[in-house]
Amino acid sequence: MDSVLIPEGVSRCSAKKFFLWTLPWILILIWGAVSAVLCLWKALNQTNMSNIFAFALWIVFDLGLIALGAGAFFTGFLTYIIGKKELKDIINAAVIIGFICYSGAMAILGIDIGQPLRGWFIFWHANIHSMLVEVSFCITCYLMILTIEFLPIILENNKLEEIKPARLFGKNLHSIMAIFAATGTFLSFFHQGSLGGMFGVMYARPFAARGGFYIWPWTFFLFILSAIATGPCFTILIVRITEKLTKKKLVPDRAIQFLAKLSGILLSIYIVLKITDTVSWICTEAHKAGLTFMDFYKEGPYGIWLPITEIGICGIIPAILLVVPKFRKDPKWLTIACILNCIGIVLNRFSFIIVTLAIPVLPFERFWSYLPTWQEWGIALASIAYGVLIFSLAYRYLPVFPKEKELNPIS
């Protein structure tokens, strides 16, 4: 039915099967759309956010998505600027994942702010001292760049390629991709950092507050490092899931192994720095505020299991698995390492957002609980459903994996 749109020389499932695959995701998208309409129409009382939990599930998803989407800029940087040729086999997937993560995060943010129609105030009345302004500037510009990076891949579609101007435009854009990749790297570096800085500069919130270098709190550097350590792992994970679902080998091992090894090294450095930062935070910022380490982990479900899981189980273990060649080369261990690494970064963002707000600073303030409503889950899960749909469509109709034909010859 849609065979004219499918890239030449590759096999794809039937249109019916594909439709059935997309159906559950479409249903989640509809759930998200209903939630979004409710939130925009009836205001944010549709959520369980409160004056205590000013940031909640959506911001966790936003920060998680942006951290996981860091694979796009980092792989782009390595491919176009450093010139790692083997990454050409995975760069398209990385770009599409990045585009999905960033556009999804932006869409959630659009609903999360109380007055979405005033979103442009961030640019027009910008307070340049706010880390969030830097984040907004950079993610908006970076989303433009990701769109530009995605465009040539879309224009390589069988049918679109027949349109001469589109084909030429795509090729011309592709020829100057290094410029966009460099700009994207610059932007990503700063917004990943500023997202961390956002929490580090909350000096009156002892759980988040950090010292730092010049105007940048240590979280600025830790967030950059953790994002580039996890982003490639998320790209690998998505590629592996796609390979499992399609029962095909899509990316040559050398690209995967290169990214995994790099991730492992970066993650190891990050974990060492993260532990150092945590210890120094207990001894300085928390101590100064009159709080001990355990004071932060005694309320509600936010116990000591959080830092243990984040740094230990989802930090040290994947770092070892990724660095030791024996484990890295074993597809099973590699997948486990990638999953743990991704969970670790999301837990890190979760802690900085939720635990910071959940722990009362005033000694006589009570602890309040928070559980998201179905509207909040709807919008958050819709970002995932949207991602699955975009990636599925891209895989089906676009030449996402350049080596697919070579690795899976049709007999």
């Binding site: 340049i128 410029i179 700009t183």
Partner: protein, 55 residues
């Protein structure tokens, strides 16, 4: 915010911050324009004909 806005201040923060914003926007704009212009010129057959023959 532009240097003509009432809130604008000629301090180092504003210059760096908005300098980079407008620089990035310029790069994106020029990049897109360059690709667009090259496409138009190729289509009109004015330039880069050799590129065209390759495809």
């Amino acid at each position: 915010m532009t240097p003509f806005s009432f809130e604008w201040q000629w301090d180092i923060g504003h210059i760096i911050f908005f300098g980079f914003l407008y620089l990035v926007l310029t790069i994106v704009g020029l990049g897109l324009s360059w690709a667009g212009l090259k496409t138009v010129l190729q289509l009109l057959g004015l330039m880069w004909e050799r590129d065209l023959e390759e495809h």
